[in-house]
Assembly symmetry: C2
Homo-oligomer: 187 residues x 2
DNA sequence: GTCTATAGTAAGATAGAC
DNA sequence: GTCTATCTTACTATAGAC
């Protein structure tokens, strides 16, 4: 028996994502990953032969794909800047569960001080996000260097609001961020 | 022999701090802590009988003391608001080594999802910081609710700039933050 | 594809010599 | 106060039955 997956790939990755978001890479033990997914450790190794590192890599890739579809692509659309930013806003609220979930990029940075297995991935994820925002701001009429500064600031503020939300045990900082992000960028 | 400490308490705590900042709580193994301090594991247990958790607690307390002396007290002084903020700026640059070091509060949050051993400490550290900034802003003439929002935003932006600096492998976000923090708060 | 059982390794922690 | 040596537990990973 059990010749078929007891959990779909999407759901599996979502559960793993949650564990890495909550505990970071070092803190995400196979026991925790196993309990979160309902799969025994050996079953996890069947799906991810290279173990925990592969799980984190695939979790990162899945997050990348989600962000591309729900955030970056909309930001690159031909809609007016305010519309594009508002779409990002909705997606961010989903991505971080209204401020209850930490950012994967922050939680997986812990693993690599100098050059870890996720450094390149994380760096390019941040860069892609900032670049997409720069394009929106340039479209909105901002001079390029100012656009870069504002975009970088908006991404920093987002991640800081998540750090603060987690640290203070309230989603208020994140919610305030969402409320102000449009003005923060375009105002 | 070896009847006297081979490393002073201050230096010891500083080294431990660095490890927790780089690796987080779960990632900071006793081997890493031992190598960073030059003390064997058994010697670390002699100084911290309750082990790793005690080390992290004392590291947090030492950071608290440093922040109180170099940031919070100056913020509570009678100097003009701009002077107080400029003092904070200098201290922040030291505390985070110009953006090369992550924030301890962020790195130790990973350990506790719901209520971990550091939650209260972290929460009150954030709160103390924000409250001190609120007082400065109120002194500068801002209405209280606006002061709270600006203070919280400045703290979030700081932590986000550190997340971004680490993730992108450049201290630029942090340096930009420092450059703008006075205007961000009082402008 | 999932499981139980188990190997192998690294982690946290202690005992006792100097 | 620091060390070597050791213990115990937890973690990562694999083997093989179903």
């Amino acid at each position: 028996m059990a010749r078929h997956p007891s959990i779909a790939d999407d759901e599996l990755l979502a559960r793993l994502t949650g564990v890495f978001q909550d505990l970071g890479y070092a803190g995400a033990s196979l026991v925790a990953l196993s309990e979160a997914t309902g799969l025994k450790r050996a079953s996890l190794y069947h799906r991810f032969p290279e173990g925990k590192e592969q799980m984190a890599q695939e979790v990162l890739s899945a997050a990348d794909a989600w962000v591309s579809e729900h955030i970056l692509d909309p930001l690159k659309s031909n809609d007016p800047p305010e519309v594009r930013v508002r779409q990002m806003k909705k997606a961010l609220n989903q991505l971080y569960s209204g401020g209850k979930q930490a950012c994967l990029l922050n939680m997986l940075s812990s693993a690599d001080v100098d050059e870890g297995p996720f450094s390149n991935h994380i760096r390019s994820a941040f860069k892609a996000w900032i670049d997409a925002l720069i394009a929106v701001l340039v479209d909105a009429g901002f001079e390029k260097e100012l656009a870069r500064q504002r975009a970088e600031r908006a991404v920093a503020l987002l991640h800081g609001s998540l750090v603060l939300s987690r640290g203070m045990g309230t989603t208020r900082p994140f919610k305030n961020y969402l409320k102000d992000v449009e003005r923060e960028l375009l105002g």
